[in-house]
């Protein structure tokens, strides 16, 4: 379905990704986990073909890809209804005026139902809540029925309830329509119940596998290059660096999520 073979990307001589390899089977739900600046967005844009890798290949099997970019700021003054944004996902690149068509409307309606957005489909998109906007973005990405869906931090800035709703929506879509989902996040915890694969990025390198294979002290220590402990508590996973204040590495210092969880 999706295979990355020794992908390396450098910007202005600085290596961002180095020999990233992984394969996803059709219908799998994979978390792409890494701290800020670890290269998650760069990796997703490489899969989309928007970033050309310096080395390595991406094989998407010719499948169409749906994409939800990071941090979309919708203008509250934009005169567009939620359903118009979904319709733009269908044919927003086409020339000419969109002629009213029953088939087009049915496709959009079906997608709005699939993401449970019929209740606010006719509201101005900029007036919707963060969770509602995220549903609309997912519908926009899926309206052409791609078999591969990439989402860049779709859970950031959502409250706990919306996070749970969006995760369960994605899980249902992935399960029922056999869509392969690759979703980036800096915190893996909300995804633990649903993801069957994980790609963990740090220092430009990656490890991938099942959560049980990857989220282990020994594996992550090798990836980070210093000692890491993985603590499981109350059904949550905490990834913490060992060592006192002197030993606190810059890379761990920029993972506030992990630090807050220890307190």
């Amino acid at each position: 379905m999706l295979t990355l073979s020794s992908i390396s990307v450098a910007f202005a001589g600085r290596t961002i990704l180095h020999n990233v390899d992984f394969t996803l089977a059709q219908g799998s739900f994979c978390g792409l986990i890494g701290s800020n600046g670890s290269g998650k967005t760069t990796l997703l844009r490489t899969i989309l073909g928007l970033v050309k890798p310096d080395r390595g290949t991406v094989d998407t099997g010719g499948h169409e890809i749906g994409y939800v970019p990071q941090k979309i700021q919708l203008d509250p003054f934009m005169p567009l209804r939620a359903r118009d944004v979904v319709a733009l996902g269908l044919d927003g690149n086409r020339f000419g005026l969109p002629l009213p068509s029953a088939a087009r409307r049915r496709t959009v309606d079906a997608m709005l139902t699939a993401v449970d957005a019929t209740g606010f489909a006719d509201r101005r998109v900029g007036d919707l809540s963060g969770g509602q906007q995220q549903r609309i973005m997912i519908a926009h990405a899926l309206v052409r029925r791609p078999k591969l869906l990439l989402l860049d931090e779709p859970l950031a800035n959502l409250d706990l309830r919306s996070v749970a709703e969006v995760v369960s929506l994605l899980h249902t879509l992935s399960f029922e329509q056999r869509i392969t989902v690759l979703l980036s996040a800096h915190d893996m915890n909300p995804l633990l119940p649903v993801m069957d694969r994980i790609v963990y990025l740090a220092n430009g390198s990656s490890v991938s596998g099942t959560v049980g294979e990857v989220v282990r002290g020994a594996v992550l220590s090798r990836l980070y290059g210093y000692h890491i402990d993985v603590i499981r508590v109350h059904g949550r996973v905490l990834v913490v660096a060992a060592g006192g204040e002197d030993g606190l590495d810059a890379d761990i210092a920029c993972e506030p999520v992990h630090v807050t969880q220890i307190r």
Partner: protein, 267 residues
């Protein structure tokens, strides 16, 4: 006020207003107000250049519109678009000062180009105004969906294969053309208010893009018609009325949006 020599004014002003209402909608939703402000001012010296060279005024304005687009596009490849726009404005205005000093254009004509002139439109101007406006309007309708999608999000447009950088450049050309033909009618300083006022009002009155465009065109036409009639009757500059009605429409639109949101919050 509908006598022979005023007919050209009514026709030209209606064409220009309808185009500004249409293009202005995308100025507003794409957040291109600064370019819409700077382009007419950069283009205005084209009229002086035309007078100096003895060619058609619209021709001079369109030529400067092209220079403005080339300047902004070339400079924004290396830096921020606002800086590129400002630099282009400064360079073309400098060129304009030179042309103005070379010609025997009177202060009154310059004043007309800046603030608009009701009686300045001749029969020979109608055809170029109509052709350039039709081209700008046609381009907007052709690019309707890419323009809208990249206004929602450049990332989404790029992922959908809608080439946002190319769409940006096409829109700059459209904006420059619409500005060049609106300029002799409403004046360089107030093309901006005709582009932004009606469209900003319209987007607050409805949540549908198509309807918002229709409203924007309608408000723009009403603004210009009322401005010409009042200018004719009072002898005050047409630009004053265009600016006044543009601001009024915007204020009323904001009020209407506020009311609609308050009503929904109560429902």
């Amino acid at each position: 006020m509908f006598s022979g020599f005023m007919i050209n004014t009514w026709i030209a002003a209606s064409i220009v207003a309808a185009t500004a209402g249409l293009v202005g909608f995308f100025v507003v939703v794409r957040g291109a107000s600064f370019a819409a402000h700077a382009l007419p001012l950069s283009i205005f010296p084209g009229a002086a250049a035309a007078a100096w060279l003895g060619i058609n005024e619209i021709g001079g304005l369109v030529a400067f519109a092209a220079l403005g687009v080339i300047g902004i596009d070339a400079l924004s490849r290396r830096g921020r678009p606002e800086v590129a726009t400002a630099l282009t404005l400064v360079m073309l205005l400098g060129l304009g000062t030179l042309f103005l000093s070379r010609t025997t254009t009177y202060a009154q004509e310059v004043y007309g180009l800046l603030f608009g002139q009701v009686l300045g439109i001749g029969a020979a101007d109608i055809t170029p105004i109509a052709l350039v406006s039709a081209a700008a309007a046609g381009a907007v309708l052709l690019l309707f969906r890419p323009l809208l999608l990249s206004a929602v999000s450049r990332d989404l447009a790029q992922a959908r294969g809608a080439a946002p950088a190319r769409t940006d450049l096409a829109f700059l050309v459209i904006l420059a053309m619409a500005s060049a033909v609106a300029l002799p009618v409403v004046g360089a300083l107030l093309v901006f208010s005709l582009m932004v006022g009606p469209a900003a009002a319209a987007r607050n009155l409805t949540d549908r893009a198509g309807l918002a465009i229709a409203l924007s065109v309608a408000i723009s036409l009403l603004t210009v018609w009322a401005a010409i009639a009042l200018s004719y009757l009072t002898n005050w500059p047409v630009g004053f009325f265009v600016g006044f009605f543009g601001a009024l429409a915007y204020g009323l639109g904001r009020g209407a949006l506020h009311l609609r949101r308050a009503r929904r919050a109560m429902a």
